[in-house]
Symmetry: C2
Subunit: 367 residues, 2 copies
């Protein structure tokens, strides 16, 4: 593993730009042109079509030769394992519909705005993932008793704030051995497309996307907490530069609505014809089941109807009738989960712009 190996920086390069209230930077544009949100009209699908699934790739999508690729399970284990894709596909198989979002979703709605991938609201999707439960592999490998974490390393390689590394993340033994944690090789019934981690990715239902390590190449049992960049530097909730921070883990609750009417190409402002409509959307939380969704019109909130849950890890559909009156309106929605967590009406600021589940606002003109 190459975590924390320094790479020569361009002269004058800084660890990273400070959050800003200024306009968008060229770096943010480059990231937005590579990464991709889910257009919000795709909230209509129970399962997001593969090509509409959001995507955040830190470095380049790596080239993986299927025939040569192997997953290696090692470190503090009794039996090292080396498995090809076909061997993994012959193991016990489980399919789960899982909603996940990028931990940075909402970042560009913060002020000052942390400089990174500038998500607004659209970095969320749901797919049906098929793979083999990780716990079975770990049992076969036999974790040594001193094991404290499992480290998951992908084949994607690059530099972030001066650290050259293969992308890697860790999980506690307790999280990693949950029955629903998958080594996933299919998405929506087909082998993974390259950008989603072909041939294998990790999937921890309920957690933000950075945990679902793509292009998985190694799993290592370690006896001290992993200190890789993506674990100990990125993906922290930090109030300021002096704050050591708290790890980003599970998804905060969020509801989104499918914008009604039709858009203007450039401004995305929407026009809605007068007449009763059923406003629909989805809601999810990594901490517990969705217990309540409220739908707001110009700051007046009503309870939305919840569809039956689609599964323990998939977003929940909701709807609310609305009788639009001519004029300009602001529509919004907010979710509350079974633990009582609720979306805020002021953005929860932190240095890296993580977990901003500020309520969505959709402006419409009714004619």
């Amino acid at each position: 593993m190459k975590a924390r190996q320094a790479v020569p920086q361009s002269p004058g390069a800084a660890p990273g730009p400070e959050p800003t209230t200024g306009p968008l930077t060229f770096e943010e544009l480059q990231l937005a042109a590579r990464n991709r949100g889910m257009p919000l009209e795709a909230l209509r699908y129970d399962l997001t079509p593969t090509g509409l699934h959001h995507l955040l790739v830190h470095f380049d999508i790596p080239w993986i030769d299927r025939a040569a690729w192997r997953l290696r399970v090692g470190g503090n284990v009794r039996n090292q394992l080396v498995l090809g894709l076909d061997e993994l596909r012959r193991r016990p198989r489980r399919t789960l519909a899982v909603t996940f979002e990028c931990a940075g979703n909402g970042r560009a709605r913060l002020s000052p705005r942390p400089i990174s991938q500038p998500w607004l609201n659209e970095a969320v999707s749901t797919a049906e993932w098929t793979g083999t439960p990780l716990v079975g592999l770990l049992e076969e490998a036999g974790l040594g008793p001193e094991t404290v974490e499992l480290v998951f390393t992908g084949a994607d390689h690059g530099v972030e704030k001066g650290y050259e590394h293969d992308y890697g993340r860790s999980l506690s033994v307790a999280e990693a051995t949950r029955a629903d944690v998958l080594l996933a090789y299919e998405m929506n019934g087909r082998l993974l497309e390259p950008q989603h981690g072909f041939p294998l990715r990790l999937l921890i239902p309920g957690w933000y996307g950075m945990t679902h390590v793509k292009w998985l190449s190694r799993i290592d049992a370690v006896t001290a907490p992993f200190d890789g960049y993506q674990q100990r530097v990125a993906y922290l909730y930090r109030r300021d530069a002096a704050d050591p921070g708290e790890p980003v883990t599970r998804m905060q609750p969020r509801a989104l609505l499918l914008p009604p009417g039709f858009p203007d190409f450039l401004t995305r402002q929407r026009t809605v014809d007068a007449g009763a409509v059923l406003v629909r959307g989805r809601a999810w939380s990594g901490y517990g089941a969705i217990a309540r969704v409220e739908f707001g019109v110009d700051g007046q909130w009503v309870d939305a109807s919840l569809d039956p849950p689609a599964g323990p890890f998939a977003w929940r559909a909701w709807s609310a009738p609305w009788d639009p009156r001519p004029g300009h309106h602001v529509l919004s929605c907010r979710a509350t989960d079974a633990t009582g967590r609720c979306q805020p009406t002021e953005a929860p600021w932190n240095v890296q712009g993580m977990g901003n589940n500020l309520v969505q606002e959709v402006e419409v003109t009714v004619r």
Copy 2:
């Protein structure tokens, strides 16, 4: 058809912002978060995986009920046709590998910068499209002798610069009856995903993407040139506001290279290890076969090797050996097609930022 039907605008709304030398606007960010480029490392694939194909959607991706959907062929024809998807799939079938790019590719590299989807270089892809040749349908419909154009109307609806319309484009009879013009219902061997035009899109090999009308619902033979917004206002090469402009049609030649080495997450600056590498890329033109690709290092150009053509309408692979020396370098490439058209080293400015095939530049640091 609803082309040119005015929609009430928000008070004070202008037809559109002027080109700017200023920073990126919120409207451009919103568009970049919805639309999607092809990450340039995907230049390695002969056929772009479906979920990596670039995408430009003017309005919303519409919901189409497969059972209820029909293609209607009408206007100045002897026999009106109404066909469902299954009927179209029973007609003669043809599969073509087709490269196309968004006409606005390169727009954000112009100065001043027209305000619209802010593409850099990445709005291009190649897929294998399967459908039925349009000409057979037109023969069955029987075009009236006064027909001058065919109008293709999609199910996507919205407003652009004050014009409310269903997206629509036209073609001359001569272009529309080319043997390689398809009504495509499959992409890469599967039914279209919603964002690529399910259940049916038009495909005119060699032309920019705006022509390949998605979610096709009507084809009308007309006896006067179509005056819809997307034909007569958008997609023109105009030198200034007074210029009536020339229509945007076929793709200008362009070559792109697969950036070598590995990136920094934020800046996308690349690090390459010293030692000989083979730089690879793709080139295409809508005007003729690719005749030459040059590879440039710090302004010194050499001829690249061309792979055999992959078909009349697919990009052509090229490669060039490079022996990188430590330090900072700028890599570039440029294509020339069989008609002698070549990429410029100064951006060809126009009001709407169309067809900017300025040569790509990739900055790398060799260590």
